[in-house]
Symmetry: C2
Subunit: 484 residues, 2 copies
């Protein structure tokens, strides 16, 4: 392995070194190019590279198992009265931590003007503080590698998955719980100009979180980086291979990988970028969605028992609690509430080529917890069991097409779980599926639109356009887990 | 005047005409270029053109006066008990309309972790429905012209100002009040692909509205457009000349003009676009701002009298009511609440050239009603009277520099008022001022950053980046009211 040359665009910021003197034509401070296409080329090269400077791809699952054995993780469901530091607040019934930090479980009242469900109340996670999900990247032998962590999260069905270099809430890294410092954090909090490749606030699950977002960052370094026992360097292409396995690459890693700039040979699309933004604006404007916080005690239809808050009809999700024993986390044991979605989800993106250019079919989806009404979601995103009583036009569009898919049409399929720090065994089948005009026309139903992967990449430079499930699937496109 | 040729990019959408047939390389549906730079060139040409196909610029103020005389507008403050259809709700004390539509005056409780004011309660306007602010544009003699309306708004100090072609809340255009149809509305609601130049949800005043946004649209037509008595065609350059007058171009017109694409010769900047977005993300993440709705009755420090809700110290604003007599509006008379800011505001953008490239100094400003914590505001945005008791570091940065400006440094100055449909005589001095390194260094204080006009134009393609006051000043740059 040879030291990589300094990548383009990582020179020191002009403002810190050059003298600022007024001249006839203004102040002589060197400028930087507004846009640098070299990052997108270098990430595309990393996606095409499946032999890297770190472990072989096929050895990563065993390495994860070994890391699990090296620690002694134990997670078990507990009744609410065994939670330490958490309690149901008098009056509101909200589930809160005594520090006032971390997160709370409150209630949400949502009304909307269309669809089979026009009004509901539900528990919701309120976590106003913004965390950092950051992947540190570095060139080895001229190819960008991502520093990935084998991280335990109590809600993961298999406990350990590959996570970003840093995955920390503000409570974590400001040490509300008095634990150890977050390793590699300074690369993200103290990044210098030219080192930041992506840095954007992205939403998380709008069905379960109230206006939650996390800071998704990719930062490049040319420094020596000491490698911790739970860390390894992998190319984007290796991460693509691992994304074809069930439950190996965690949600936080997937959403950050979705934000990687990727060069694509694609100047044309069914709709121009201006038209696409206009359609999103129209979708945001046409929905009349009213969202109000309510006390958890006022979530009619939900019942609080000793072990869980759930619905008598067994639908949607339950709020429960776990105790965690761990050696490798910043603290060694704790208890916490988790949300457990009920039933295996289906999260599918339909894909077609138009005049040779790949397109995917996105859905402008309303979720009660979104900051701004709708975000672009996969074509299908639901838990089929919640819809068994619905027929005809009330069935989610394209769901039955996906459930009855011909295996030859399925370009990508794997089971992934959602954030194991908040969700317990929240699994979904992620699919990318080739379709034709008869199955999904070029002019789709209202609320759906064909967009190119490049258009999605342009949108994820900004927050709150592409939801977390669609970002998981975009990560599969970016890493060539699902070439299209 | 000759009919203009069809502008580039206005051909019918491919999907509506071409047969969609699968081929070996995918479906043969013609594609569109993702980006079309010709619109930005044509808007730049319109900005350089000050003689148009409609009225001469110098005749527009007289034309506005004539339109005012043709109608018989009368606006007078009234006590709350003369409001028709509006009342203070039992229990909450919220000021509401009996239809449940239009808007309500509620309360807001804000806490934040820095600045001289860490916690406050205030009345706030809650208007969840999204309105349309739309300018129709058309080429005459090869130059784009904007269809502007002489529109009365009860809060305008001079009642009539130039407004967008369409300026309508959803309650207006779905006719909750049973009035006449909104003229030219169909150009915006039924715009075809290729006609939309800009279409984005932009925030309004975060100090007075709770998460309010309006749809800012620019739509191009090649059709014949019958010209109403209260309408005229003006080039961007003419609007720039009129922006140098006090209270002629209304806020709604200014925010839409800010969204016009403008070609600028500018590939470099002090900070790359990625760094700029990263800085915005960091500013959003570092602030801990908690905003909760509260009943209007719980806004401690505010007192409700027969004529107004205000503070004993006379600061900030008051809530009051007016009756309106008008012939040219969709309905001929009505009463409504308005918010009256107290004191003349100062809204100023500092500007410098670095290596010949113009930059402006923006402020990442927290306002309680913003959807997402901060937006980019002008360098100075305040009502000086609210800060007379503060000294030293608690004074708004750069305020004293602007208040003591040497006239030779002032590149632009005019008094403009904010939305006259919600605000009563809400006037501010808008300034653009040249400064040097000593007055405003290339490396400014935390929360401030030098950006180029082109970077602001890139950001206003998306919502919630640039606040309404900064958009007013960007409109002055776009129309060359203030060349820089």
């Amino acid at each position: 392995m040879t030291p990589a040359p300094a990548p383009a665009g990582t020179t020191a910021p002009a403002t810190s070194t050059a003298p600022a003197t007024d001249t006839a034509h203004g102040t002589a401070v060197p400028l930087r190019p507004r846009n640098d296409p070299s990052a997108a080329r270098r990430f595309a090269l990393s996606a095409r590279t499946t032999k890297g400077a770190g472990p072989r791809t096929e050895d990563v699952p065993d390495w994860l198992d070994a890391r699990a054995e090296a620690h002694h993780f134990r997670v078990e469901p507990i009744p609410f009265d065994r939670l330490d530091g958490w309690s149901f607040e008098d009056g509101t019934g909200n589930l809160v931590h005594r520090s006032g930090r971390f997160f709370t479980i409150e209630g949400l009242h949502v009304t909307r003007d269309e669809g089979p469900f026009r009004e509901w109340r539900q528990p919701v996670i309120d976590q106003p503080e913004v965390g950092i999900l950051g992947i540190l990247v570095k060139e080895f032998d001229g190819v960008l590698h991502c520093l990935m962590q084998a991280k335990m999260e109590p809600g993961n069905p298999n406990l350990l998955q590959l996570s970003p270099t840093v995955q920390a809430t503000r409570s974590n890294y400001t040490k509300v719980h008095g634990g150890a410092a977050v390793r590699y954090l300074e690369h993200f909090t103290d990044a210098r100009p030219g080192q930041v490749v992506a840095d954007v606030l992205q939403s998380e699950h709008g069905a379960w979180f109230l206006r939650k977002s996390n800071r998704n960052m990719i930062v490049e370094t040319t420094e020596d980086v000491p490698l911790g026992d739970d860390f390894c360097w992998l190319t984007l292409g290796q991460l693509g291979e691992l994304l074809r396995h069930d439950n190996v690459v965690n949600m936080d890693a997937r959403t950050v990988l979705a934000c990687a700039p990727i060069e694509r040979d694609e100047d044309s699309a069914l709709h121009s970028d201006t038209e696409l933004r206009s359609w999103i604006t129209a979708e945001r404007s046409r929905h009349d969605v009213r969202v109000r916080r309510i006390p958890l005690a006022d979530t009619d239809g939900w019942e609080r028992g000793p072990h869980s808050i759930d619905r008598p009809d067994g639908r949607y999700f339950r709020v429960m609690a776990v105790s965690v024993q761990a050696a490798s986390r910043e603290v060694t044991s704790w208890t916490q509430p988790l949300v457990q979605p009920l039933g295996l989800g289906v999260t599918a993106l339909l894909t077609r080529r138009f005049s040779g250019v790949p397109h995917v079919l996105v859905h402008a989806r309303v979720e009660g917890g979104f900051l701004d009404t709708i975000e672009l979601a996969p074509t299908v995103q639901c838990t089929p069991e919640n819809y068994t009583s619905l027929t005809g036009a009330d069935r989610p569009p394209f769901l039955d097409l996906v459930l009855g898919a011909d295996p030859g049409q399925v370009r990508y399929e794997a089971v992934h779980s959602e954030e194991g720090g908040r969700f317990y065994h929240a699994e979904s089948r992620y699919l990318i599926m080739d379709v034709d005009e008869e199955q999904a026309p070029a002019d789709p139903p209202p609320g759906y639109r064909w967009v190119t992967p490049g258009q999605l990449s342009s949108l994820v430079r900004h927050g709150h356009y592409v939801n977390v499930q669609a970002r998981s699937l975009l990560a599969c496109l970016n890493t060539l887990a699902a070439p299209c």
